[in-house]
Symmetry: C2
Subunit: 274 residues, 2 copies
């Protein structure tokens, strides 16, 4: 175990202040379950200065990632494919080579139970996607940072593209033997329980609910979009999102108790309104 | 390969005349892709005499299954649990011990490409359920008929029950290491593409569509519930079911060309109306 605390990291990503709120709640949820690993957030220029300060206060590392960084050898190829920009942003996690192993977590995930055991898995480990379960969901995955893999992923993206236009379609094509090769690369679904699972097979959700380790609020509606009553301290889920109200309340409890009080009053938009 | 043609079988089930229509279409879809294996349908007393005649004409074996058969040693235990009756009906497939290996197929499945390779898999092989992918979907599974397994499943059902009240919850508890033990027991999702996958991750569906081998019309609405225009020869999918119109049309083409013309005019209900 020696050194694992500093050589292994959880990594998330925000390209703007709104997703940064998700990162802040995710960070708190990880601390709450007593993780011993490093917490890293990757940010792009879309994240404001006051928000960066806030992220710096709580994350172990705030890593600026910049697609148009002139030191990036893939720069030229990228210029011709602006459509792949968001996809490429997540790929930057492979450049965090100061870590031996890492776990990427989307900013719309919430950790419910300690998940440090994920670092015993190898690249690329991920949970099945509930929509098409021979694909893995790319909101939670174990990987090994490597400049070589990063460059290989970039050229793959440029030549082969992504079948869904996002990182999930790209990563599933690149790590294409995930569904057939090794069951150890299949994270149990409780490590990435997507919101649609809350209703599409309800008896299973009830049966395995107490084992849920990570909740993932996929889709257009995110936890921060729901209505929150400050007097009652209760969230009211927007209709039709399928979000589980108990997990949603957990997200908001963390947000209101440990994130919102520290937000800079100069933050605008959704952040400023809260 | 010697003997596999007679010692291996596809097995389906109908407890009434309506589900029998599904069995008839399924049978034709299997013949069409040139299966070399035996085709078996299990029926209960709810299937009418004319429908049995029709099934006998096309299946290699029509096997009567009767829960309250006095020869069944589990009879007494069953009498106290009428709620598990439908679940138990599917379990009868394990009693087809004249076969070395078998593949169970729900009556609401449609075979698109030859699937005889399934007999190279071991018990219990099945594809992930799209709702909760650490469970397998019990609409398509490879198994080894065995009186011992049948009895073991029955006593398990009586003591442990099923977390969803159906055979899927029961079989997933019984074969509980499916999700963690051996990737070879994971059938590719193309062997059981459920209707919800048609829309929940559309880019994946498009990407893998040409590989689809079995379509499974899960849920309350079945292919036979949709509206069919006999003049145009076209099916119109009911709204909100998510059923793919191309696969639905394939089901109806088989039904109208090779099943409907042979139905006995004395058949009532949904069957009679067509
Ligand atoms: O405008 C965006 C969109 C996405 N993301 C990051 O990319 C991840 C994947 O996007 P999202 O979670 O919205 O996709 P979904 O899980 O709903 O498919 C997010 O969690 C964020 O970490 C971001 O920072 N800004
Ligand atoms: O009233 C019924 C219900 C089910 N079945 C059989 O049990 C299978 C499983 O039920 P169904 O396909 O309706 O469940 P779903 O796949 O929608 O969960 C059917 O395909 C039939 O083979 C039947 O014969 N009669
Ligand atoms: Mn996400
Ligand atoms: Mn079915």
């Amino acid at each position: 175990m020696a050194g694992r605390e500093t050589k292994e990291a959880f990594v998330t990503l925000a390209t703007n202040d709104t997703y940064s709120l998700g990162c802040l709640v995710l960070e708190k949820s990880l601390r709450k379950v007593g993780t011993t690993r490093q917490l890293v957030v990757m940010v792009t220029s879309g994240v404001s200065e006051p928000m960066r300060n806030q992220l710096t206060r709580v994350f172990d590392l705030v890593q600026e990632v910049n697609l148009l960084d002139s030191k990036d050898p893939m720069n030229l190829m990228l210029l011709g494919r602006p459509d792949l920009n968001v996809t490429f942003t997540k790929l930057h996690c492979w450049r965090l080579t100061q870590f031996d192993k890492a776990v990427f977590l989307d900013a719309d995930t919430l950790v419910i139970q300690n998940i440090d055991e994920l670092f015993d898995r190898e690249e690329l480990s991920a949970a099945p996607d509930a929509g098409w379960p021979d694909c893995f969901n790319s909101g939670v995955f174990v990987f090994k940072p490597s400049q070589k893999t990063y460059e290989s992923l970039l050229s793959f993206a440029i030549t082969k593209g992504s079948f869904d236009g996002g990182d999930q379609g790209l990563l599933n094509l690149y790590f294409k033997d995930w569904s057939t090769k090794d069951i150890a690369r299949h994270l149990p679904f409780v490590f990435n329980v997507v919101s649609q699972a809350f209703y599409s097979y309800l008896p299973a959700f009830k049966q395995f609910r107490q084992n849920v380790k990570i909740v993932h609020f996929i889709g257009a509606t995110k936890p921060w979009h729901h209505t929150y009553n400050t007097t009652l301290g209760k969230v009211t889920a927007l209709p039709g999102t399928g979000h589980d109200s108990e997990f949603l309340q957990m997200w908001w409890d963390i947000f209101m108790e440990t994130v919102q009080p520290f937000l800079d009053s100069s933050l605008g938009g959704l952040v400023g309104e809260l």
